[in-house]
Symmetry: C2
Subunit: 184 residues, 2 copies
Amino acid sequence: MKKISTRDKIVNSAHKLFYERGYNATSIDDILKDAGLNKGSLYHLFKGKKEVLLAVIEERIAYNLKQKYKEIDTVENPLQYLQHKLLSTDSFDFKHGCALNNLVQEMSPVDADVAKALLKVYNDLEHYYFIALREASMSDEEKKALAKMMVATVEGAIMAAKAAQDKAPFIQIVEQLFKFLLKV
Amino acid sequence: MKKISTRDKIVNSAHKLFYERGYNATSIDDILKDAGLNKGSLYHLFKGKKEVLLAVIEERIAYNLKQKYKEIDTVENPLQYLQHKLLSTDSFDFKHGCALNNLVQEMSPVDADVAKALLKVYNDLEHYYFIALREASMSDEEKKALAKMMVATVEGAIMAAKAAQDKAPFIQIVEQLFKFLLKV
DNA sequence: ACCAAGTTTGACCAATTAGTCAAGTAAGTT
DNA sequence: AACTTACTTGACTAATTGGTCAAACTTGGT
């Protein structure tokens, strides 16, 4: 039974609620209620709601991505590893989609600071896909372009699942994508 | 100088603002201010904010999609036509992304009625891509799966452009996708 | 002109929003 | 014990939220 710092309680609750409801639809009071804290504690630690969001992006979303793909450059068959990671059952929550994607949609056009933080994570994501292509016989430029497309397809697949509120489209699209990759 | 009905003024303003800011971030007062109308007019014509959203989805987003792709089953080279439509400069606003996608992200997990209306449009979108594949030498099942993947890739490309707040990633990904399609 | 239906006006309401702050408590340092 | 710093409490504010409604205005039919 380790005790969780006040800061972590806030960032955890904010992460969860921003993911499930979106940034605008989550109030500070919602976060505090979920975390079991009072208002002053939050404003003692953060300048405001936006700073909480930046912490969520940098300390949770970026971190989770790193945890998910950190082994990809040591693994034997990285493309297969990637496919397996994507299709493993708890890979993502089809109902709420991709935490990164969700925030990009909602926030990137609206706030430059947030957009910058999100773009950094997005670039990391593309980089992991680039590494997954290291065995492929093509130039680095081509790998980069292909990785970009793969990320787009997977993110689009998550969105398709969200539109249908059903995981099936996601699986179908990812399988189609990898069927494709084998041909090239 | 034709005069626009009150209803159309509301739906137009709502469509624009929902697209630019999102549903939750747009207040009824914002819509009314943009439309130059008073509160009672809106509540005379609509039950509430959600009904305005449903009108936007069914009368604007679905309609615009239809307008964009209605010629695709008569055109000579439908795949090339699709590519051209996607890459034509005013095809979409990279800053705000895809109106359909945006609403799916924000609303589908939260409201079943809205999710249903959005899914219908999403299925139409996939159907247009399916038609664009009519010349391809494969079974209808394969075409359907491929069309699904193409939609996902294009939607993901829009999201990549939104993340970067720059149209370039979108163009790159769409080009990569069609380069791919030629190989198969 | 008269009437009834459709439409518009804008003040009003209760609830919620992000953010403030003076007062209190806990925890370490000497 | 005395003192200082870090943290927590929760009442408060000003603004905004979606929604209501009685009164006023248009409009078209007779």
